[in-house]
Amino acid sequence: MQRSILDARRHLPHVRNGMEIPRGTAWWRQIGWRHVVGIGVLGFMLFPVLYVVSASFNPLGSIAGGSLIPRSFTLEFYRTMVNGSKYPFMRWYGNTLLVALVVAACEVMFSTMAAYSFSRLRFRGRRGGLLSVLLVQMFPQFLSAVALFTMMSQLGRVLPGFGLNTLTGYALILMGGTMGNVWLMKGFFDSIPHEIDEAAEIDGAGHVTIFVKVLLPLVTPILAVNFLLTFIHVIGEYMLAAIFLTDDKVKTLAVGLYGIIEGDQSGNLGLFCAGSILLCIPVVLLFLYLQKYITSGMTAGAVKS
């Protein structure tokens, strides 16, 4: 009697969140294999990340001949990086954050303003303007490196604070890309019903009030995403920084850390990894926190609702 009840339960499908979860081989065939493959894929994707974490704590400075889990543990590399005894790491960190914050803030401001104008105002050349912005944005700034280099060295002679080897000059160059996310932002503004701002206009609100007080609060999540994407982009920007920031004092982490690992690929691995972890922690946390918005934000330009 008892036995038959158990038998019966074994053949009843398990239900979770209103979905039938099969058991036994059916589970393996439909769901289980996904876990197996998924773990394999994640292994490949996360391996370099785990490697960096491991090498940063491993006194050997690399995992050559060892296992991924270090046998002994040291904070030496972190200490060396933070106290700046070998490289001005904290200075590079500060430089990077400063440039990234300024450029990302400007990008959010300029992109949003332009997107509002393209989405809500009607003027001659609107479509042409939007397309030209998109077209020009597709040219990598790096392709004009020679021209930029000459321009900046000339600018430096007039305004020494903005020339070659200055953070301000470098930030200025990156500002050339501050219309980068206009398309994305415009998509968002387009998805807000026009009736909302029409109502505000009838109430006597001017374009500034409609923009700042009515529409901006509705697009806050995408502003955060836009900021974060630009922020990460600037932190990882290596090409132009390598040309324009060669002095140790003004380097960003991208050029600074590159110099560390290129100096001695095997000997400096620990230092490089410790520096990378210190840079990655805030970025990855922010990213995971905003991930939901990021996924929807990136597809918004293409997948319109």
Partner: protein
């Protein structure tokens, strides 16, 4: 609904043109005043420097900018411009102007040895030909800087004749007697002079070329001038070469040979009728389309350019196809609502995307290191990954695959989730099996929505300098002095031409850049086509 839009721009206005627009609230008004004040203040501060440097182009840009700012932000007209100006300003100045400037550079021979202007080159050739004349006076020298001048470049020579003890002031224009009342001489040297500050030996050293290259004409017609020798003495010498500006020739006084400018291997040199150059110094000049023709006709460059272009194309196609396929499959893998821990898998998949690109590539480059790299250790191989072009290409592609998958996974996941549920459901009800459902319903819809992103990803990888520069620096290089390395894509090749170690060839690099501009523009147009189609569909 569409008939009523904002029409501030063309609304009739009874107000005078120059008002502070609609701004009514105090904080907004203050912000506006401070902003405009800053713009004006900054501009006024820069103008004197621009005038003294004779940077007329920059001055013109500045004036136009200030006028534009004031027209846009103090009138109630041009509302869209108020919002478009800041981003557009930087876009034009740091993206569009450099593109145009690059096109201009591509028609010159700008590069190492051809940076100076023609007149600078001529004067340096002539002054290098000085022969010391011991029958003429020598001097002890101090260097002075005008107390009134704002720039430190206005150096003067304060000279004491070694035999007569008379004191002189030497400028780049002329030599003049300096009354003894105005100078203090100690141990045969001028230590103080009225109106001038004397530089210390260290300051003279730091000034470098500005002082060592200085000469004071004594008898300009015969090429006699005073030249510095070290940091504390000067001698009188004769220039052996003389430049005739009307005939544009350089004549050798001692032999009577005449040299005139002629193009030699893409650079102008002063050569005599037998083809001997008086100096290897050249100058910046326009070469028309020579850089372009050499790209397509110079057999050594043409072959390399073709191989590099093909590899660039292959690299971009492989990167987009590989990452998209992998990303889509992984997205489908986790597209199973009954799977436990789906969110965790998805979050972890995206972690590499948040890691700055340069870190990922640098770590991968250590993995492929020949001596202690992980790949060789794990596989037991002893391959010199970066010493062989084919292996280096595999390494670069692997790393770029890793770097690109999270993005493709993200957009595929997003696109799968936003597929129209009713269409998918209708097909399911009609009895479509999962495989058919995917290939005939989901996949076409998905492709339509991600196509523009795939095209822009292609454009991105076509110019993915990071992947090459951080993994291989374009290497391995063959020993025959080729322009491009084994893994160089076009953009990293340009970098080497322009900033690489062996002689910068900015002009040629700019010509390749212009070529890439055209390819990029072509891809942009294709993308617009897709986007327009997409707009018609949705």
């Amino acid at each position: 609904m569409t008939s009523r839009r904002f029409t501030y721009a063309d609304g009739p206005s009874a107000e005078p043109m120059l008002t502070l627009g609609r701004t009514t609230s105090i904080p907004a008004l203050l912000t506006k005043i401070i902003f405009l004040g800053l713009v004006l203040g900054l501009a006024v501060a820069i103008v004197p420097a621009l005038i003294s440097m004779r940077s007329w182009t920059m001055l013109a840009i500045l004036v136009i900018t200030v006028i534009a700012v004031f027209t846009i932000y103090t009138t109630r007209h041009c509302v869209p411009a108020k919002y478009l100006f800041p981003g557009t300003f930087f876009l034009v100045l740091f993206l569009l102007v450099p593109v145009i400037y690059t096109i201009q550079i591509s028609t010159t021979n700008f590069g190492d040895g051809t940076r100076a202007s023609k007149s600078e080159t001529v004067s340096s050739i002539v002054s290098a030909s000085v022969v010391r004349d011991d029958s003429l006076p020598t001097y002890t020298m101090s260097i002075g800087v005008s107390r009134h001048g704002d720039t430190t470049d206005d150096y003067v020579l304060l000279l004491v004749n070694s035999t007569t003890g008379r004191t002189y002031l030497g400028t780049t224009d002329r030599l003049s007697l300096m009354p003894t009342a105005q100078v203090t001489v100690k141990k045969g040297r001028i230590v103080a002079a009225k109106g001038y500050r004397i530089l210390t030996a260290e300051q003279v050293n730091n000034a470098g070329d500005a002082i060592t290259g200085m000469s004071v004409p004594v008898n300009a017609g015969k090429g006699v001038a005073i030249h510095t020798s070290g940091i504390s003495s000067a001698y009188t010498g004769t220039e052996n070469l003389v430049y005739d500006s009307s005939a544009d020739t350089i004549t050798d006084r001692s032999t009577g040979d005449v040299y005139s400018p002629r193009m030699v291997n893409g650079r102008y040199l002063f050569v005599d009728p037998q083809g001997r150059a008086v100096s290897q110094r050249s100058w910046l000049s326009s070469v028309g389309l020579a850089n372009y023709t050499s790209l397509f006709t110079d057999s050594s460059i043409r072959g390399q350019l073709l191989t590099t272009s093909l590899w660039t194309l292959f690299f971009a196609v492989f990167s987009v196809a590989g990452t998209f396929l992998a990303g889509l499959l992984i997205a489908l893998l986790f597209d199973e609502p009954r799977m436990i821990g789906r969110k965790v898998y998805r979050s972890l998949m995206v972690v590499p995307y948040a890691v700055p690109t340069f870190i990922g590539f640098l770590i991968w480059s250590t993995f492929f290191n020949k001596d202690f790299g992980l790949v060789n250790q794990l596989t037991g191989l002893h391959l010199d990954w970066f010493g062989n072009a084919s292996l280096a290409k595999i390494a670069v592609r692997t790393a770029n695959l890793w770097a690109g998958i999270p993005y493709m996974f993200l957009i595929s996941t997003g696109a799968l989730q936003s597929l129209p549920a009713d269409v998918v459901e209708a097909a399911r009800v009609d009895g479509a099996r999962p495989i058919r459902l995917f290939f005939q319903i989901k996949m076409p819809l998905l492709l339509v929505s991600v196509a523009p992103l795939l095209v822009s990803s292609f454009a991105f990888n076509f110019n993915n300098y990071n992947a090459i520069a951080l993994m291989t620096q374009g290497g391995p290089f063959s020993s025959d002095g080729s322009l491009f390395g084994g893994t160089d894509i076009l953009i990293s090749g340009i970098y080497r031409l322009a900033f690489g170690g062996s002689g910068a060839r900015f002009g040629l690099a700019a010509a390749v850049s212009v070529l890439l501009f055209f390819i990029t523009a072509l891809m942009a147009i294709i993308q617009f086509r897709y986007t327009r189609k997409l707009e018609e569909i949705l």
